[in-house]
Amino acid sequence: MLLLLASLPAVAEPVLVVNPSVPVNDLKRNEARLIFSLRRSQWKDGSPIRVHVLDDQNPLHVRFCREVLRLYPRQLRRAWDRQTFSGTGQAPNVVESIEAMRETIAREPGAVGYLPRELVDGSVKILEVH
């Protein structure tokens, strides 16, 4: 397992991205944490927030959690499990690849997720988190 992790190529810098329809241009870190914890259901204009993530153990997901949200992936997973299995909320959609993430965010109004910075094109919008 350790060998496997060590042999992975360095993971690119993750950035938070949204569908261009989202009426927001930046986010505070605490807002981003609430969105990825699925505690927020709508954007400022009332349109639904749709959260997409990669698998818990995906290196880009881990790096996004640690560097952008400054949380551990297990903290998010526990929050999703608690909400889902206690009837207080839902879980994010898990996409299967970075390419699927970009396609989904570009296609779906209200979608939010993350991508490696160098793979971001005009089809999605970067929100800087500060």
Binding site: L2, N30, R39, S41, S47, P73, R74, F85, G87, V94
Partner: protein
């Protein structure tokens, strides 16, 4: 056996929905996730328990597989501000639960308002009671801190007393730079069962239990934005009336039970430290001797968890619980009831490990050394005189969730 049949049906279902996805990582079957706002999730847990003396969740002195939890839930968001969700649960736990399916929760949640710094939500239906850190998801192995929830605070032998309620609940969240403050407040009818009667009156007598008036519950919780600290104070109270039928020795009595839990959790790097303290003032009147009494139960635990790499964690926990905090050695309760003193307290060490094999499959194993029998159900141990005061337990579980 209905429990076996349900398990089989569920496994077949699981196999069906995860076909072609088993190797991938999508938690929601793709065909279902195409319906916007609909999610299907579930879990399947199988445990094995071995004790040297006494029985915990089935004939564990010989090795018991009578611990199984199966849950399936659906949630649907027809509007951004409305969530409809329900979960069915089948739970096999020794002689306490036979696996018959129950409605675990079924509710509608309306978001009344959402701004940058607060959120207000009202929900109606059957709720899991938000008590302490674990009550609402106590049957979901992935969310538990060990194989079983800490029995000192979350007794399995009376779980239904505080598990869920049919009623209304208000949730308020306030977000600030220093953290998040949440309040849950609700009233509802507790969902009672025979285990509650056995706990209150020693056995299942002819007659019926009913909730005298709606249970009230509330929780206030503070979490720092990085989730490093979490603190909560929860309170619930309930009143249960017994209406005896012919042949019952206890008379028409009423029990009042309060339940106060203070919780604190600290997360730092690879460590999680969790402590919870529970007080349970209980009074029983009108049943006649030896059932009438007034005691304050107490329980607490401290747990350390250490994450070793991304998928393995180790934990150690110490806990104590007493039926009557003013009678910690159980002698006064033993005199009153004629039961062994060890029936009324428990002190327990647990060490264990958890391995998240994939993001869906988890294996967990615990060893616990126990002094006292307070955690044991008399439905699994019908002869109190046969109980051994000191006993040890090994428990193992495998859990799959999606």
């Amino acid at each position: 056996m209905p429990a076996r049949r349900i398990a089989l049906v569920f496994v077949v279902f699981l196999g069906f929905v995860t076909r072609g996805h088993a190797a991938s990582t999508c938690p929601v079957p793709t065909s279902l996730s195409n319906i916007a706002g609909l999610q299907i999730h579930g879990f399947l847990t199988q445990g094995f328990v071995k004790t040297d003396h006494n029985r915990f969740f089935g004939p564990s002195d010989k090795g018991s597989f009578e611990f199984r939890e199966i849950g399936l839930n659906a949630s649907y968001r027809p509007l951004p501000s409305l969530l409809l969700t329900a979960q069915g649960l089948s739970r096999r736990a020794g002689n306490m639960y036979n696996g018959s399916p129950t409605i675990d929760f079924a509710l509608a949640r309306w978001e009344l308002s959402e701004t940058d710094d607060h959120q207000a939500t009202l929900s109606i239906g059957r709720h899991k009671n938000p008590i302490g850190l674990y009550n609402a998801t106590r049957d979901v192995a992935h969310t538990r801190p060990s194989v079983f929830v800490p029995q000192s605070v979350y007794f399995d032998r009376v779980r239904n007393l505080l598990l869920s309620s049919d009623g209304v609940m208000l949730h308020l969240d306030h977000y600030a730079d220093f953290g998040e403050l949440s309040l849950d407040a609700g009233v509802g009818k507790p969902v009672l069962d025979k285990n509650v009667e056995v706990m209150l009156l020693g056995r299942d007598w002819p007659g019926d239990l009913s909730s005298g008036r709606p249970a009230r519950l509330g929780r206030i919780r503070f979490t720092t934005p990085d989730q490093r600290w979490q603190a909560a104070l929860s309170y619930a109270d309930t009143q249960i009336a017994f209406d005896p039928a012919a042949g019952s020795i206890p008379g028409p009595g009423t029990t009042h039970i309060g339940y106060l839990v203070a919780s604190l959790q600290f997360n730092q790097g690879n460590w999680t430290v969790t402590g919870e303290y529970m007080l349970e003032p209980a009074s029983a009147k009108g049943f006649g001797a030896p059932f009438d009494n007034e005691v304050t139960g107490e329980g607490y635990y401290l747990q350390l968890q250490r994450y070793v790499g991304p998928s393995l964690s180790l934990h150690v926990r110490y806990e104590e619980a007493y039926l009557d905090r003013d009678d910690r050695n159980g002698r006064a309760s033993a005199l009153r009831t004629g039961l062994p003193a060890s029936f009324f307290f428990a002190k327990s060490w647990t060490v264990g490990a958890r391995w998240d094999v994939t993001s869906r499959l988890m294996l967990s194993a615990d060893f616990s050394g126990n002094d006292g029998n307070y955690f044991l159900s008399s439905r699994d141990n019908p002869s109190p005189a046969a109980l051994k005061r000191r006993w040890n337990m090994i428990s193992i579980l495998a859990s799959y969730r999606f």
